[in-house]
């Protein structure tokens, strides 16, 4: 079994034939483009401080990768609260309206049948169906919202080219500043990361 921190692993041989290895095509140059700088930190506390420093240095295209959600990271990165809740609310409202409409349309409009002398449509027996559909569509809305906002699913990410990055789901703490960032200038990002306390900085290619 190969574990991510197995010292016997050779990064280059391990990457050969990797499904996420960059494909050669006329549209991709043979020399891989730089994606960004990957800095590893020793602990969540250290990453949190580094994130605050990178935030204050004015970077915009950067991210932190940790094996678990770190409390306080949103504030340290200057992130706004998630808007997934609106997706769930929209799904819930749609589900409720759909449920009520469906019961009315099917039992009172399209094929009305009087059962037990009861009204063709009453909101009360329609309520369980409308309630269940609002829960169902709210849950699907929350999931769909998360996938859309996170741009998931995706089959490949440039960071998967780094073998060390496999530790991001194990016990590694990483901060990435992308080359695409307008403030990314030469050595300044690397120096900032070093000053933030990173013990390992590497360039990741796409």
């Amino acid at each position: 079994m190969i574990t991510p921190d197995d010292p016997s692993r050779q990064p280059d041989t391990a990457r050969r034939g990797h499904p996420s290895a960059p494909r050669q095509s006329p549209f991709h140059p043979a020399t891989p483009a730089s994606y960004g700088l990957l800095a590893q930190f020793d602990s969540a506390a250290d990453t949190l401080r580094a994130a605050a420093m990178v935030r204050d240095a004015g970077y915009r295209h950067w991210d932190v990768h940790t094996p678990f959600p770190v409390r306080g990271m949103d504030a340290a990165m200057g992130l706004a609260p998630s808007r997934v809740g609106w997706w769930a609310a929209a799904g819930g409202a749609l589900g409720f309206a759909l449920g009520m409409w469906m019961v009315w349309w099917m039992n009172a409009h399209d094929y009305p049948i009087v059962v037990g002398g009861k009204p063709l449509f009453s909101p009360i027996p329609a309520l369980p169906v409308a309630f269940e559909l609002s829960i169902l569509l709210a849950a699907l809305g929350a999931l769909g919202g998360m996938l859309w906002l996170n741009r998931m699913p995706r089959l490949h990410h440039p960071l998967f080219n780094s073998d060390r990055f496999k530790l991001a789901t194990h016990d590694g703490f990483f901060l990435v500043i992308e080359t695409a960032d307008p403030a990314f200038a030469g050595d300044a990002a690397r120096q900032l990361l070093r000053r933030a306390g990173s013990r390992h900085i590497e360039e990741v290619t796409d």
């Binding site: 079994m1 991510p4 499904p19 020793d42 602990s43 969540a44 506390a45 250290d46 949190l48 401080r49 605050a52 420093m53 204050d56 991210d63 990768h65 940790t66 094996p67 678990f68 959600p69 409390r71 306080g72 340290a76 990165m77 992130l79 609260p81 998630s82 997934v84 809740g85 769930a88 099917m106 039992n107 059962v115 329609a126 369980p128 169906v129 829960i135 169902l136 709210a138 849950a139 699907l140 929350a142 999931l143 919202g145 996170n150 998931m152 699913p153 995706r154 089959l155 490949h156 990410h157 998967f160 990055f165 496999k166 991001a168 789901t169 194990h170 016990d171 000053r195 933030a196 306390g197």
Partner: protein
């Protein structure tokens, strides 16, 4: 503390490593973060243990036999069961209510205890959620084969058909279709969202290309990004918040199948909360039945401690007392209500031909769990396991008593009858247990049975905030 606050949030961090980094990275019970993933993912990555095969092969055999009986039922007719008029609902619907109830404890542990910030739920919630899913699958089998003509099951769905008619939504049975299918889908989503980071862990540890591709597809390209965790945490919280009213509604709707009818002994407003309490109680019993052997067989005593089991026992006891209260209230309502048919239904329940089932239920489901008042019992795994088995038996009998005793003697004495199960009834009940066990064993073999990322998030390491005493602040 103020300085630490400025350091983190004001961005004027000092260059040297802060003092807490001098410590060994602390994780649960003094283990490192890596140990958590090694231990839990290792259960999925290592060779198949011998006990797994010894459990899986018989379970698969029983499932196949149950499937064969379903074919026999559908090719011959529902008369191969013991059901007749007036007892047209018997073991089949008993099994349905029993299994759907089992699922409710899983949602209680995964969603309600999450909203209540009960962190002790973390090591057991994945198992409990899997239990929910598989229990709902087992439950769904019974109403379907009970129809006798499975190929017409799609008439339950609001789909256009050649007759041009639609389902009648004034029937609680239609509410049930929507409640149970929504419950299954939302439970599946909740379980899957929880699995995404752990599937990424398995992807990044994968030793073979096949595993990397399969787990990688499941992980949806998860990178542990803080920007993703933000939406992820919001989604998880929302799904927990949505599951909570959902789980209360599902067994309420199941109880409407009975309460909306006019059968004495069924027609009572107490049924929805009574059924929900009973569902949670029987489900907690099933969680104990599953978790106790699991932690011993997989060597997970360090992650699922005696303390976790003890809290489960206390929760089970609380649910037991709620069920006992509901049963007492039901008797009181029958006595006080003044309807002689209702009163007779309860007299018949306790002293009629099914008295054996009633008093066995009282002993197993209401009396035996009282042992959980004693710490000596709660901390002895063998004793807890025995009581949990009794709870399962007792709560199955409770549903049998609720469903069959009002039916077998209702308004007209000329229609009275005594239901007896046939071998097909028994075989199908056992077959459902086999199906449940088969699915559960497959889950144990291929997916992490404990939420790896969530366990890590509980370590002091995950809360490097000035509010955390481990980092020099005040709690």
């Amino acid at each position: 503390m103020a300085d630490a606050f400025v350091d983190v949030f004001g961005g004027v961090a000092p260059a040297p490593a802060p003092p807490e980094l001098e410590r060994e990275p602390a994780a649960s019970r003094g283990r490192s973060l890596g140990w958590v993933s090694d231990r839990i993912a290792g259960l999925v990555e290592g060779g198949t243990p011998r006990w797994w095969w010894w459990a899986f092969v018989p379970a698969l055999g029983v499932t196949a036999a149950g499937g064969g009986l379903a074919v026999y039922l559908m090719s011959t007719g529902v008369g191969v069961w013991g059901v007749m008029v007036p007892v047209a609902w018997a073991w089949d619907i008993t099994n349905f209510v029993f299994w759907i109830g089992i699922g409710h404890a899983g949602t209680l542990i995964s969603a309600i205890l999450f909203l209540l910030r009960q962190e002790w739920r973390t090591p057991i919630h994945r198992v409990a959620e899997a239990m929910t899913l598989f229990a709902v699958i087992c439950a769904a089998v019974f109403p379907l084969i009970h129809m006798g003509r499975l190929w017409l099951a799609w008439w339950l769905l609001p789909l256009p058909n050649a007759n041009g008619i639609w389902p009648q939504f004034q029937s609680p049975l239609m509410w049930d279709v929507f409640a149970v299918s929504t419950y299954f889908v939302v439970s599946l989503l909740f379980w899957y969202v929880g699995l995404i980071p752990d599937l990424a862990t398995l992807r990044d540890r994968a030793a073979t290309r096949g595993r990397r591709i399969l787990y990688g597809l499941g992980a949806l390209g998860w990178t542990g990004s803080a920007r993703h965790w933000r939406h992820y945490a919001a989604t998880y919280l929302l799904l927990a918040g949505l599951s909570t009213p959902l789980v209360l509604s599902v067994h309420s709707v199941v109880s409407f199948d009975f309460a909306v009818s006019q059968v004495p002994g069924w027609h009572t407003t107490l049924f929805p909360p009574y059924f929900v309490a009973g569902a949670v109680f029987s489900g907690l019993g099933m969680v104990l039945t599953l978790v106790i052997p699991l932690r011993a067989v997989c060597g997970l005593e360090e992650v699922v401690g005696v303390g976790h089991i003890e809290r489960m026992c206390k929760l089970t006891l609380a649910a037991c007392l709620m069920v006992a209260y509901a049963q007492g209230a039901e008797l009181c309502a029958a006595w006080y209500g003044g309807s002689e048919y209702d009163l007779y239904a309860f007299k018949n329940r306790a002293f009629g031909p099914y008295a054996w089932a009633y008093w066995t239920m009282v002993g197993c489901a209401l009396v035996a769990p009282q042992l959980f008042w004693f710490k000596r019992v709660r901390t002895r795994m063998a004793a807890v396991f025995m009581v949990s088995i009794l709870i399962n038996v007792g709560m199955w009998l409770e549903r049998f008593v609720i469903i069959v005793t009002p039916l077998h003697r209702d308004y007209l004495p000329a229609n009275w009858a005594y239901f007896q199960p046939t071998w097909v009834d028994v075989g199908q009940a056992v077959g459902a247990c086999g199906l449940f066990l088969t699915l559960f064993l497959l889950f144990l073999r291929f997916l992490p049975m404990i939420a790896i990322a969530e366990i890590k998030a509980l370590t002091p390491h995950a809360r490097p905030s000035p509010m955390n005493p481990a980092h020099g602040g005040q709690p």
